[in-house]
């Protein structure tokens, strides 16, 4: 019985570890995948690591992450150590009370810390703006900047703030263990307090300081949520960049960078643990017991050779730090700048370098994952972008709320190259605010090997024959849009009865078990691996799925006969953008035929540039040495007769949006 119990608990522990580590192992394995799927193994390759180091966006955010983490670690370690020493000299009751307060931020949800810091900074900036304007008004000797924004400074402050408690937590126990007479003894022997600090306190609490610093560094590198709310537009940490990249799909590049991130944190944690074990080893060296693994490592790494190696590593780390600082300060020195915010994996990054080389303007390229996030970022006042690339309905909303700046089209001669079809659309009828970036269609992606014949209608989404194999897109506008079109209504209807009827179609199908689930990014793995038959998604993404489909999967794309949604993402300049001229130069550059060709080839979304659209098949042939399949081309850039069937989303009135979200929530509960 007892034995059975032990086997059982071992099994459970094994299962637990499997659950904890299998995903990470999978991620590491797929970072070495030759293909670019996250579901199908195509052989070993280091390609993604190579690409990673050539990916400017990732490398820049990596530098930013290291810089912020290192600076935050240094500052918070110093501040935390002195705070701990200050606390130590208080009476026990006061100290315990303050330490309890110190613990709260560590247990506090990151999101709360992040949002509150963001609010705090924004409120401060507003107050500062008022003060600076007044100050500049009453005197003219010093000109204070009136407009502060979230950025590197606030990011660093936030990291310092959330790191300090960890340092205090690590340093305090060492201080408490320290014989309180040591400082007295040092002073008694002739030291001033500062001398006593350097000669006695510091060596005594050094292990605590080092662990505190390592943990602070780990937390900093690791942090996403707090950074996300405090970094503003011009700065992006690695975690934020990865998150932005997942908007489209999880590429193996992300696997590679995540692997590196995981290994970094792992190494740091091992170092922390070895250090702690080393101390115990030293203190309990007389105790006759079998040393633990960490202690054995600790014992072995305590030789002079190892100590020199560790010192060398420390020196190397400092050199790296200095190099990063030099690199970054050099790179950011008083060059003209433009802050661009777009979606992840939505530009051929070579274009950024080309633009910088041609104009000398530095591009700060940031990404967010959805129109709604972009909107809330802009609304919170924390963002400082010049150029954004929202979708049609969001542009309408931004114009309505007076958040966009009118463009000076004389600075954007390439606007003339944009096809007339994409000008003056419903979201910007007067052609005052936008220059189209890409366009595309929503349609049905299906696996020919899992359905009977061709699919031509939205009805397939609600068909009992495919029960359990249909993926519902987890985006109320697209899901409801499909149902509305199926019923023959407009996707922009505001009639509650029509909307309720469309919802009824979805709900009925849901109750009958037609849907396998509600997905966004998982759609790639599901469809590529043949785990679902039918999905609603975007044409450009269909093309990358075909590229990665597993053996036995035969994907097809169709724009149903009832019609569909087509969308336009367009570049706009935000109201009061600090670098309007640079922003227009950027827009003009991106609107050029060359840039459009490069982008179309990279992201497989159709270009609105008339020449680029026409030249793309030839460009493809020249680049890859094979002809572009006409069918593929037509999926990428739907021909006019297909486009005529499609509708652009308009910005819906508030009560309609509320109805959408109420119904969508209801579906979730049901």
């Amino acid at each position: 019985m007892k034995k059975a119990n032990r086997t059982g608990s071992r099994f459970l522990i094994g299962l637990m570890f499997l659950f904890l580590y299998l995903p990470i192992i999978l991620l590491i394995v797929f970072s070495f995948n030759a293909g670019d799927s996250s579901a199908v193994w195509r052989g070993f390759s280091l390609n993604w690591y190579r690409e990673l180091f050539q990916n400017r966006l990732i490398m820049e955010s990596l530098y930013m992450t290291l810089l912020v983490s290192l600076l935050a670690t240094v500052i918070s370690t110093a501040a935390g150590t002195f705070a701990a020493i200050g606390l130590y000299s208080l009476s026990r009751r006061k100290r315990d009370a303050i330490l309890m307060v110190n613990d709260i931020p560590m247990m506090n949800a990151d999101i709360v810390t992040g949002v509150s810091l963001c609010l705090f900074f924004v409120a401060f900036f507003q107050g500062w703006g008022g003060f600076a304007r007044w100050f500049n008004g009453v005197q003219s000797a010093v000109e204070l900047p009136t407009r502060l924004t979230l950025g590197f400074g606030t990011l660093l402050l936030a990291h310092v703030a959330f790191n300090i408690p960890y340092v205090i937590l690590n340093v305090s126990p060492r201080l408490r263990q320290m014989d309180k007479n040591l400082v007295d003894a040092a002073q008694d022997l002739g030291c001033t307090w500062m001398q006593a600090f350097w000669k006695v306190i510091l060596p005594e609490i050094k292990p605590g300081i080092v662990s505190g610093a390592l943990i602070a560094f780990t937390m900093s590198v690791d942090d996403f949520v707090i950074s996300y709310f405090t970094a503003g537009s011009a700065t992006s940490t690695l975690a934020m960049t990865i998150y932005g990249m997942t908007k489209r799909r999880i590429t193996p590049e992300i696997n590679a960078v995540s692997t590196l991130l995981f290994l970094t944190v792992l190494v740091l944690l091992v170092v922390v643990n070895v250090r702690e074990a080393q101390l115990e080893h030293r203190e309990a060296s007389r105790e006759p017991r079998k040393p633990t693994l960490m202690e054995r490592i600790a014992g072995r790494t305590n030789t002079p050779g190892w100590r020199w190696a560790k010192r060398g590593a420390g020196a190397a780390a400092i050199c790296c730090f200095v190099a990063v600082v030099v690199f970054l300060t050099g790179a950011t020195s008083s060059q003209p700048v433009v802050n661009v915010c777009s979606w992840g994996e939505y530009i051929d990054e070579d274009l950024i370098g080309q633009f910088e080389e041609a104009t000398g303007i530095r591009v700060n390229y940031q990404t967010v994952e959805s129109n709604e996030t972009l909107y809330s970022l802009l609304k919170s006042g924390g963002a400082d972008y010049d150029v954004v690339v929202p979708s049609d309905y969001m542009i309408a909303k931004l114009i309505e709320e007076d958040m966009l700046e009118e463009l000076d089209y004389s600075n954007i001669p390439n606007y003339a190259l944009i096809d007339e079809r994409f000008k003056g659309l419903s979201f910007d009828p007067g052609e005052r605010y936008t220059v189209p970036y890409t366009w595309g269609t929503l349609g049905i992606i299906y696996n020919r090997n899992m359905v009977d014949g061709e699919i031509t209608s939205w009805s397939a989404l609600y068909d009992d024959r495919y029960a359990g194999n249909v993926l519902l897109i987890n985006n109320s506008r697209d899901a409801m849009g499909a149902a509305l079109m199926y019923l023959g209504y407009s996707v922009n209807t505001t009639d509650p009865d029509e909307i309720r009827a469309a919802f009824q179609v979805i709900e009925d199908a849901n109750r009958r078990g037609v849907f396998q689930g509600r997905v966004m990014d998982e759609v790639f793995q599901k469809m590529e691996g043949g785990n679902a038959a039918i999905a609603t998604y975007y044409a450009g993404d269909y093309l990358s799925m075909v590229e990665n489909q597993a053996d036995g999967v035969d994907l097809a794309f169709v724009i149903p006969e009832e019609g569909s949604n087509w969308f336009v993402d367009a570049m706009c300049v935000l109201k009061d953008a600090p670098h309007k001229e640079a922003a227009e130069a950027w827009i003009n550059f991106i609107a050029s035929t060359e840039a459009n060709l490069a982008n179309m080839d990279y992201i497989w979304y159709a270009s609105p540039n008339k020449e680029a659209l026409e030249q793309y098949p030839a460009y493809y042939e020249e680049t890859y040495g094979e002809e572009l399949d006409q069918e593929t081309y037509e999926i990428m850039a739907a021909p006019p007769e297909v486009l005529d069937r499609c509708e652009v989303y308009e910005n819906l009135p508030q009560e309609t949006l509320s109805l959408y979200s109420d119904l969508w929530v209801e579906l979730g509960v049901g």
């Binding site: 009476s91 026990r92 007295d184 003894a185 040092a186 002073q187 008694d188 002739g190 005594e204």
Partner: protein, 391 residues
Amino acid sequence: MSKKLIRLADCCMAFDGELVLDHINLYINDSEFLTLLGPSGCGKTTTLRIIGGFITPTSGEVLFDDVRMNDIPPNLRKVNTVFQRYALFPHLNVFENVAFGLRIPKTVEEGGRKRKVRVPEAEIRQRVLEMLEVVSLKGFDQRRISELSGGQQQRVAIARALVNRPKVLLLDEPLGALDLRLRKDMQSELKRIQQQLGITFIYVTHDQEEALAMSDTVVVMDQGRIQQIGTPEDIYNEPKNAFVADFIGESNILDGIMHEDFVVEFFNRKFKCLDKGFAPMEPVDVVIRPEDIDIVPAEKGALRGTVTSVTFKGVHYDTIVDFKGFKWLIQTTDYHSEGETIGIVLNPDDIHIMRKSQYSGMFGDYSSYSEEYDDLEDVSLLEEEEGGDEE
């Protein structure tokens, strides 16, 4: 010999409004071995810390060679301290611990200009090794602190303080953490070092035996006040009040009335004594040391009582005897069994008379023997609290 090196004038100390030292007046002579003796929480460590400069008295003056030192920090006082539990620096080896003070540059004024002076390395080496020899730790200089026994650590602490050639060495219960045997060895060792170097030691302890064995002068303290200052013999033989009598050695303390010079009455009987100078019929405390009492057969005794308990103590028996409800402790080499009725004889020089004080009636009856031990335990709790406040 009798030069006054340090003087405390009317020193008071209060922590959080609680008076810990109550008008302390004390002087310490050059080359003297002075002990501050008292139960935990009596203010002896506080007095030492005031001399060391770690705390500043709330009122009163600290004078070194008649110069006011109240606000001079410890690093500028020609005083070094041996701390309770040693306070050695764990990250330094024995040599570096001892050399610590020598390596701190000293600021000296020469013709109005301040200059930093360092002790040359060769001199440091020589002085450290010399001092290690004085404390019998020759050859231990490269050891780590954690590799030393308690007694050896103690010696390092002493060497570390003495190597700076202080005028005064302060020792805060330095032997408290050692076991009995080591403590005895270290007592004579300390006395030897003090005589060899000829410097002043101010020694804090709650162990009366230690105090009697080592000191030139003993200062008995309780509740923040000095109870008595004197040589060990004075303190033992002529305690000023019931507290001192009880704290130094064991005592039977009785209520008595001084009829006239040399005549005292207790237990309704008159006894001859050697004390005088009291008012007629003045109520007094009578001290009789347990080892001074001679037991005789009941019929020959001046007083008669019944043995209620006997404890073997090695050299002697602790015999508790009930005299009319008052229990006496008698130390005798003869065995008297429980329940036996015995008599005692008191010679005039066995009886010591003290004036009544706030401590009268608190000690002396051995019916409260065990409770007294309980009280002692409570006191150790008190000490920890005091320690907490000083942090």
